[in-house]
């Protein structure tokens, strides 16, 4: 299927023909549209954070106890991995804008590897929690278990939010592979890099969400029994 751009022609009252401005090179429009999409992401995760804060306000001590039991080493490692991946993604965009297509592709591959590492670590973490009986619809999170009610709410939201975040990571990997294909096909180039720009923005918002997910789940209970809450 051809994607050749066919210009639209408008004729004025005097019969003169004018080419209608196409949207293909509308860099700002493409960027603005993507920001609107990202605001819907903020709405989605914002609602989840609101639910989290609501339950937290009703069960403050249970939330601190549950948070204290999470593996901060693995969570912190993932935080650093995402942080570095945001750098590699940004450098990739810089490279393509400066004409270094090969360098840009290398940086995208580096980002993909870091994203996979994030998922592998998250998988180990979830498996350890599952082995301790803590997982959605499983053992300690079942209604009849003796785990304090607030902790059940905490872990329910923990798996939901980190799971949804993980889905975003998987989508990001898919987008980056698609981006590599578009670069190889010459559709994304130093002159036309809006797709690369927007996928880098997507990766940044995935990182941004984690910047709040990590301290809320892993760190609030790090201060001991009272957690300074």
């Amino acid at each position: 299927m051809s994607h050749e751009y066919v210009p639209e022609i408008a004729t004025d009252r005097d019969g003169n023909q004018h080419e209608v401005q196409g949207w293909q090179d509308d860099f700002y429009g493409g960027k603005l549209g993507f920001w609107l999409f990202m605001l819907t992401e903020v709405m989605m995760f914002g609602a989840m954070f609101l639910a989290l804060a609501y339950y937290n306000a009703l069960h403050p001590q249970d939330f601190l106890d549950a948070s204290a039991s999470l593996n901060r080493l693995l969570g912190g490692t993932n935080t650093v991995i995402l942080l570095v991946s945001a750098l590699t993604m940004g450098l990739g965009l810089l490279k393509i804008r400066s004409g270094d297509v090969k360098g840009a592709k290398l940086m995208i591959w580096a980002t993909i590897i870091l994203a996979v590492a994030f998922l592998v670590i998250k998988g180990f973490e979830w498996r350890a929690e599952y082995n301790h009986g803590i997982f959605l619809m499983h053992d300690q999170l079942l209604p009849e278990s003796s785990l304090p009610f607030g902790q059940k709410l905490f872990f329910g939201l923990y798996f939901s939010m980190t799971g949804l975040h993980g889905v975003h990571i998987i989508i990001g990997i898919g987008l980056m592979i698609w981006l590599l294909k578009r670069i190889n096909a010459g559709k994304v180039s130093p002159e036309h890099h809006i797709l690369h720009w927007n996928i880098a923005l997507y990766w940044d918002i995935v990182h941004l969400i984690w910047v709040f997910v990590f301290p809320y789940y892993y760190m609030i209970g790090a201060g001991g029994a009272t957690g300074g809450h």
């Binding site: 609101l50 804060a53 009703l58 912190g76 935080t79 750098l87 940004g90 810089l94 709040f212 760190m219």
Partner: protein
């Protein structure tokens, strides 16, 4: 923002500086519960997260110099804040449905 012309070396320096800043703030996240603001860990952690988010938005997401998009972001943050104030600031302190609630402890039933 002009995206066609680029000073690669200059912009790369900014990326690395921001990386160092974010790594330092991540380190602060880990030491905070043991060294300062121990009476308000939650507040301290969220403040650090806000600073990190600001760095990411301004430098990695290129909001610097973007007036319209920055206004959109501020507006959405304002809306989020309004909902948080209503729910956490007003609704939770006046929670009065323990007896029939599914979000409070079963023993309250």
């Amino acid at each position: 923002m002009d995206t066609k012309t680029i000073n690669y070396q200059e912009e790369k320096k900014v990326y690395y500086k921001v990386l160092v800043g974010l790594l330092l703030l991540t380190a602060v996240t880990f030491i905070q519960p043991h060294y300062f603001m121990q009476g308000s860990t939650f507040l301290a952690q969220m403040l650090i997260a806000v600073v990190k988010a600001w760095l990411i938005l301004i430098y990695y997401m290129h909001l610097k110099g973007e007036k319209l998009i920055t206004a959109m972001v501020w507006f959405s943050l304002f809306l989020v804040t309004v909902f948080f104030v209503i729910v956490i600031g007003i609704d939770v302190p006046n929670f009065q449905y323990e007896a029939e609630s599914h979000i409070t402890a079963p023993q309250a039933h």
